[in-house]
Symmetry: C2
Subunit: 191 residues, 2 copies
């Protein structure tokens, strides 16, 4: 998605440790009108008419998933990081190691909201090594739901989490794949 | 907002410890079309034309704030719970005690995204004792920005966090104020 690559080039920053910051429009301040354009772009790649639930993980995926949900008219579900008392019984759980927080995080999702009847589109703002995505896929699998697609706004291609998923046959579409992010700026994989 | 009270009556559940669960449409599974109606309702109470930023706190406020942001055409900012390495320097910080997680949580927000020029509408899905809201107000104050309003979907009136804010003159509008939630169901404060 050319507009997304342009925003990353214009506004993205690169921090030590290959951290890519796009917190001016995607995951701290959020340009929700632009997220609407991203939602329209995903709709070109997935058959939205089949989708019954949009699934994401808290926290930074929620804004994009919410806009997709609103535009498509499909409810969204966000998997929570365990610890809250507000979720009891009937849970799917996926343990993932968070490189952001440098510890194990358990994603949980109530079995009330993803069921074997559901057709799930997973939406996330970012993918690097793909561990959070594996957690979401684990929830879809535990639910016995059908995965209709995985839509990611920005993939860090040089960490290869997306490549492994594609090799395994997962229907993943990332709208901008960063091949390198260094003192020379951003290089994107060709579509 | 009558439709919101009806959804709480129809779908809300009451757990021990006065925990009100509305996780079928607001904060786990999310009915974003309904959030659009909530956004329209807030627009009756606040002068949206003056607002330059919508501010909320991760995680569960993000979906509602994103839909408000999208409908109004105003960027949103979500304050993060401290711990991520992805936010450096130039930060506003507010320490709040989280009753959900039973520990101190520090809300952080980059000074890049809320500035003295901003007119801020705070949006959150839930308010109980108001400590998370105090954290967001602290960020607006540290930024030297102007507070245009506080919009809350559901207030737990019996915990009186909202009452204190109103007594102090804050422009708070909650669309459904629960006065009691017990074996007799939900009772709402009259508008």
């Amino acid at each position: 998605m050319e507009e997304l690559k342009e925003r990353i080039r214009a506004e993205g920053r690169i921090l030590p440790g290959n951290i890519v910051k796009v917190d001016g429009f995607l995951n701290h301040q959020v340009d929700t009108r632009f997220l609407g354009q991203i939602a329209d772009e995903f709709a070109k790649y997935f058959d939205i008419s089949k989708v019954t639930k949009i699934l994401t993980a808290e926290a930074s995926g929620i804004a994009l998933a919410a806009i997709c949900s609103y535009k498509y008219g499909i409810p969204m579900v966000f998997a929570k990081k365990a610890k809250s008392d507000n979720i009891e019984g009937g849970l799917y759980r996926s343990d993932v190691f968070s490189y952001t927080y440098k510890k194990k995080v358990t994603l949980i999702c109530s079995s009330d909201w993803i069921t074997p009847k559901d057709h799930v589109l997973i939406i996330d703002d970012f993918m690097a090594n793909g561990v959070a995505m594996r957690g979401l896929l684990g929830i879809v699998e535990q639910a016995g739901a059908k995965l209709e697609g995985i839509g990611v706004a920005i993939e860090k291609g040089f960490q290869h989490g997306g490549d492994k998923l594609r090799e395994e046959g997962y229907p993943l579409k990332s709208l901008a794949i960063i091949e390198s992010a260094d003192e020379n700026g951003f290089t994107f994989r060709e579509d």
